[in-house]
Symmetry: C3
Subunit: 276 residues, 3 copies
């Protein structure tokens, strides 16, 4: 593929229209996530509590926008004013939960459908991170940390609203905190936000803007497909373990242990750094 | 009653001044609700933790406005700037919890007092739903769902803040989620919001505006009094069961069961749709 | 000390620049508080979950501003735009948790260091309460209660975010509600807010403004040092017990008990008013 054509594709990708197909893919995966989170109980729950079921699905679909708005002092309900997205989300929710003989759910779980939807969702995610960073940059042109936070939240909002989403359904799981064990999507959104911020605010990245965007899209889609097809769940893990060892005490703790000073006397320096 | 006179009454009702009498009724029922929620422990709790007691009562009184403001990006504390309401609320709280020999509480619990206060509160509720819908319509003229959500929250805000209200008092009951088993007030506020939105945004309702409003007031007061005097708690239930059977899988589930495909194998399709 | 010189000192204090030294002291105590809240587990936790550890420390550092912003409809993330404070906070967090052989933590725990930092933090607290009251007064010139709430929250924000802060670290302690058993800092911030509001809005306090401010600084520092050095934890307690006895039912309850009417039959009127 010659560079011209590649840049051309990149420019196409950056201008892709999201509504309605990407919204359908996003809503579909959100509804599936809610249904899977309900477990074996899903069928019965959706019949007994349609309102809670609908609300928690909407919260997953609009999570990124709502959380970001909440933190930026903008109306939390504003994402709902997009009637098109709302109708798509409601239709998809209905299809996943209430079609006769559960046909909707079975089709949605069918592997090829899931792969296409997942790939589209990753393209959507890249756009959301990009828009989030841009929006925050307009409000706080010098606050990199705010841009990065908003970008990450827009990219994986549902991860951060999981507690509230479950609470709407009457379940409370305080230990399922995204910050404790960030998922791959959170880390990828964080990385993408940082790259977008660097691209926007510094001259360190000399590639054309469209290429940076396209690179992130490819990275997200590639790892999503690896995750579904090959079961590779977190390519960041080795880097993290290295980073933790150098910056967050790993080496010093080991040294201290060898020298017998043993701050970490209880021997848990061994199982440290495995999870985060 | 001839139609002219009826319309005249309706026009009177729509212009009723709420402060201070309706605020007193509203605050009284809020303080009683807090006291009853505390149970047998109320007396001791109010002596040990006056601050938590006062705060949770204020939260119940101002719940609708605070939640709606929070979701619309407006200052959550703004409802407190109404000094008159705040003083009325505080005075009522004091009377319900701290009068010598518990006279205040006993008077408030006296049936005729409770009936009058309840009727007034329903009139207040209709006004709040109406104002909520109007306010949201100004901000998002095309987002019906936001108008309906804000109207419902304004009408029964305390239902949705129950978790926070109890949390202020150190109790955490994650399963007491309003969305899981909406109360009659939530459903009535939802219905009233929908009617107000239809009245405002479409031509489907040809009755004069004041009559629509008056109709909703009568509906709310009538069912409140039925609930207190006759013990009828939820006139929506039959309609809901019908709706669930048609739209949310009831019929299909039964059909599937008869055909032996049994998605709802565990037999709980029987007790389904009872609660919501 | 002659009054002139005293007023002069007061005028100096009111103009003290907070950044960076007072921010360092504030961040240091915040990081220590997080580390102590983690208990024996702190070392291992900080290695396993650096992100949650950093986030909860930042939440403690910026708690006042974030909560106040959230309640006033301003962007919750806005305090983070102050890059200087953010870098200071991050550096202090790193020093407290990750320095080799835990030198940073040991130095911070060294009594003279802690005393100086605590005294500086109280000066900072006075300024934050003052700024909070002023900010709220600009938004709602007639709502005293909002000024008092914002002043109190700015003064002891971390007390009110403790639940969220622990939740970020995956721990949920719903009974640790500040409102139930307000700490000395909350009560002192409340008192300071009330005095600032009276000073600003009435003519009841005739002392020059700088003196009022200086008096509050001295009061806060004095009791903080008493608390560290002499173990006096709550000078408000006797006043509170008196107030509760007069206004919140204590006397009447006793009277009722003597008269044998016994609303507080279970005999807990004795242990009443000890905690709040």
């Amino acid at each position: 593929m010659d560079p011209e054509a590649f840049l051309d594709v990149a420019n196409q990708v950056i201008k892709l229209k999201m509504f309605p197909f990407f919204d359908i893919a996003h809503s579909l995966l959100a509804a599936l996530a809610v249904r899977e989170d309900l477990g074996a109980n899903a069928q019965a729950f959706s019949r007994k509590h349609p309102l809670a079921c609908w609300l928690s699905t909407m919260l997953v679909i609009f999570a990124g926008g709502m959380v970001a708005n909440g933190l930026l002092g903008e109306p939390i309900l504003a994402p709902l004013k997009n009637t098109g997205q709302l109708l798509v989300g409601t239709a998809v929710w209905y299809v996943v939960f209430y079609t006769p003989f559960d046909i909707g759910y079975k089709v949605a779980k069918f592997l090829p459908v899931k792969i296409v939807a997942s790939a589209m969702k990753e393209i959507y995610r890249a756009k959301k991170v990009y828009d989030g960073v841009g929006h925050a940059a307009k409000l706080y042109p010098n606050a990199w940390i705010i841009m990065i936070i908003i970008g990450t939240l827009k990219g994986n909002g549902a991860g951060f609203t999981k507690l509230i989403e479950r609470l709407i359904r009457g379940a409370w799981t305080p230990t399922a905190m995204e910050f404790m064990q960030p998922s791959f999507y959170t880390k990828a959104s964080l990385l993408a936000s940082i790259i977008f911020v660097l691209d926007k605010k510094t001259d360190w990245i000399s590639a054309p803007h469209a290429l940076v965007y396209f690179g992130i899209v490819i990275f997200l889609v590639y790892f999503k497909l690896s995750s579904i097809l090959l079961g590779i769940h977190d390519p960041f893990l080795p880097l993290e373990n290295l980073g933790c060892a150098i910056f967050f005490g790993g080496i010093w703790d080991s040294l201290a242990k060898i020298l017998g000073r043993g701050q970490a006397k209880d021997g848990d320096s061994k199982d440290v750094k495995k999870n985060n």
